[in-house]
C-alpha cells in the first residue's frame, strides 16, 4: 500500500523531493487553468474565433518579445557594471565619490520607475538630444536596476568576514588580488538569490518602457488587444511570455547556488 500521506505532508526532517513538488505545481496550474477557462470563458465569450483573431498578430508578439529580451539583456549587462562600480564607490575612501554614489542609490530607490522613465526620457534625453527610444530605454532601465544591484553587491562584500581579508593581507595579496580571489567569490555566493531576483525584476520592469512608446512585449500585447478587442487572448500570452524569461533565471540561480555551496 502506497503511503498516501507522503504525497501531502513533509515531515520536518525530510527534504522535499523535487519531482513531487513539480508534480504538485503541475496539478495546481492545471486546476487553475480549468477554473479560469470556466469563469472567463463564460463572461468573456471565449471561443475558437478569439484565439484565431489574435493568432493573426503573432508576429507582433514575437517581435515585442524579442525586443524585451534585447532590452533586458543589454540592461542586465550595463546595470551589472553600474552596480559593481557604485558598490565599490560606496566603500571608497574618497568621500565625495562615496557621497555621489550614496545620493544616486537613494534617489533612484526613492522614486518610482515610472516617474524616472517619464523624467529621464521627456526631460533629460530630449534635453541632450537623445532621440533613440530604445537606447534611452536601456539607459534608464540600467540606471534604475544599477542602484538596486549596487546595494546587493555592497551587502555581499560586507558579509565577507574581516578574518578573511586579514588572511589575504598576511599572505601578501594586493587589494585587487584580495578582491578577485577572496571577496568576489564569497560575496557572489552570498548574493546569488537576491541577484537572481533583481534580474527577474529587471525583465518585468522593462514592461514600463511601453509608456514611452518602445514597442516591447507589453506594448505589443496592448496593440494586439486594441486591434482585436480580445483581452484574455492578448494578455495571457503576455504573462506566459514573461514567465518564460524569469523562470529560467530562478532555475539557473538555484543550480548555481548548489554548485557554489560551501560551509564556513
Amino acid at each position: 500500500m502506497i503511503n498516501l500521506s507522503g504525497l501531502f505532508w513533509l515531515r520536518r526532517e525530510e527534504q522535499s523531493p523535487s519531482w513531487l513538488q513539480g508534480l504538485w505545481m503541475g496539478v495546481i496550474v492545471l486546476l487553475a487553468g480549468l477554473l479560469c477557462t470556466g469563469v472567463m470563458g463564460g463572461t468573456m465569450g471565449l471561443s475558437q474565433g478569439g484565439w484565431a483573431s489574435v493568432w493573426k498578430y503573432h508576429g507582433v508578439f514575437w517581435q515585442g518579445w524579442l525586443l524585451t529580451i534585447l532590452i533586458s539583456g543589454v540592461s542586465l549587462a550595463v546595470s551589472s557594471l553600474i552596480g559593481l562600480g557604485v558598490a565599490l564607490a560606496l566603500r571608497s575612501p574618497v568621500l565625495p565619490l562615496r557621497s555621489v554614489a550614496l545620493l544616486y542609490v537613494e534617489v533612484i530607490r526613492g522614486t518610482p520607475l515610472l516617474a524616472q522613465i517619464l523624467f529621464l526620457f521627456y526631460v533629460v534625453a530630449n534635453g541632450v538630444g537623445l532621440q533613440d527610444r530604445i537606447v534611452a530605454g536601456v539607459l534608464i532601465l540600467s540606471l534604475f536596476s544599477g542602484a538596486y544591484l549596487a546595494e546587493i553587491v555592497r551587502s555581499g562584500i560586507e558579509a565577507v568576514p574581516a578574518t578573511q581579508i586579514e588572511s589575504a593581507r598576511a599572505i601578501g595579496f594586493t587589494d585587487f588580488q584580495t578582491f578577485r580571489y577572496v571577496i568576489a567569490p564569497q560575496a557572489l555566493r552570498q548574493i546569488l538569490p537576491p541577484l537572481a531576483g533583481q534580474f527577474a525584476s529587471l525583465i518585468k520592469d522593462s514592461s514600463l518602457l511601453s509608456i514611452i512608446g518602445i514597442g516591447e512585449f507589453t506594448l505589443a500585447a496592448q496593440q494586439v488587444n486594441s486591434a482585436t478587442y480580445r483581452t484574455l487572448e492578448s494578455y495571457l500570452p503576455l504573462a506566459i511570455g514573461y514567465l518564460a524569461l524569469t523562470l529560467p533565471i530562478s532555475l539557473i540561480s538555484k543550480i548555481l547556488e548548489k554548485r557554489f555551496r560551501y560551509e564556513t
Binding site: 598576511a170 601578501g172 595579496f173 580571489y181 555566493r189 560551501y262 560551509e263
Partner: protein, 250 residues
C-alpha cells in the same frame, strides 16, 4: 636571525574608549629560536604578533628584522606587503578560504603572490601536505575538514612560501584537546627543522616544552624575558609569579 621591537606603542579607539595596548614595548631576540609570548589576556601578546607580522601599524616605535626596519611609515604600502610575503602567519581561527579546496588554499599564495608556475606550485604544495599528513584531504573544502586538519592546512599554507619566520597566534585556542595535540606535535616537528617561530599561546605545558625563550607580556610591556627553564622555575616579577600561580593551579 635577529628580531628587535623598539619602543612600540599601539593604541586602539579614540577619546574615552582609548586603550593603550602596547606601551613603549621593547623586545630583542636572537633566533633560531622558538620564542613564546606568554601573559594574561589583554596584555598585548596578539597585538605585538600582529605588529611584527606587518598586519598592524604601531603608533610609535620600530621593528627591526635582521637590522632592517619594517616599512611601517615613509614608504609605499607595497613595501609593507613585500615584507609580509616573507613571513608565514597561522591564525587562531585558521582563516582558510572556505570556497577553495585545501590544496588550492596552499597553491594560491605561491602562484598569485610569489609568481611560481602552477605546476611547480602544485608539486611543492602536495609535498608539504603529504609531510603534514594531509594527502587525502587536498580536494576537500575546509568545511569538510576537522578543526585540527584545517589548522594543519593553514600551517601548510604558511610553510609553502618558505617563510623566513613563522608566527602562530594562539593556534590551538579554537581546538578540542585531541586536535590540540595533533597541531602541537606538528609545531614541535617544525621546530626540529629550525624554522624560527614566534608563538602566542595559552598552552603553558607546550610552551615550556617547545620554546627556547619566553617573553612575559602584561599591560602592554615585556615585563620579563629569558630562558624557558628559568622563567618557569622562578619567574622574577610579581606579575609573572601571580600569573603562573593562577594558570598552574589547575
Amino acid at each position: 636571525m635577529k628580531l628587535e621591537a623598539l619602543g612600540i606603542t599601539k593604541t586602539f579607539g579614540l577619546g574615552k574608549d582609548h586603550r593603550r595596548v602596547l606601551d613603549n614595548l621593547t623586545l630583542k631576540v636572537e633566533f633560531p629560536h622558538v620564542l613564546a609570548l606568554l601573559g594574561p589576556s589583554g596584555g598585548g601578546k596578539s597585538t605585538l604578533l600582529r605588529v611584527i607580522a606587518g598586519l598592524e601599524r604601531p603608533d610609535g616605535g620600530e621593528v627591526l628584522l635582521d637590522n632592517e626596519p619594517v616599512p611601517f611609515r615613509d614608504q609605499p604600502v607595497s613595501a609593507l606587503r613585500t615584507y609580509r610575503r616573507r613571513l608565514g602567519v597561522v591564525f587562531q581561527a585558521f582563516n582558510l578560504f572556505p570556497h577553495m579546496t585545501a590544496l588550492q588554499n596552499v597553491v594560491l599564495p605561491l602562484t598569485a603572490v610569489h609568481g611560481i608556475p602552477e605546476k611547480e606550485a602544485k608539486e611543492r604544495s602536495l609535498g608539504i601536505m603529504k609531510r603534514l599528513g594531509l594527502s587525502e584531504h587536498g580536494e576537500k573544502l575546509p568545511g569538510q575538514l576537522s578543526g585540527g586538519q584545517r589548522q594543519r592546512v593553514a600551517i601548510a599554507r604558511a610553510l609553502a612560501v618558505k617563510p623566513k619566520f613563522l608566527l602562530f597566534d594562539e593556534p590551538t585556542s579554537a581546538l578540542d584537546p585531541e586536535m590540540t595535540a595533533e597541531v602541537l606535535s606538528l609545531i614541535a616537528e617544525l621546530r626540529q627543522e629550525g624554522i624560527p617561530m614566534l608563538l602566542v599561546t595559552h598552552e603553558m605545558g607546550f610552551a615550556r616544552k617547545i620554546a627556547d625563550q619566553v617573553a612575559f607580556l602584561a599591560n602592554g610591556r615585556v615585563l620579563e624575558q629569558g630562558e624557558v627553564g628559568n622563567f618557569f622555575s622562578k619567574p622574577q616579577t610579581l606579575e609573572a609569579q601571580r600569573f603562573m600561580a593562577k594558570v598552574l593551579a589547575y
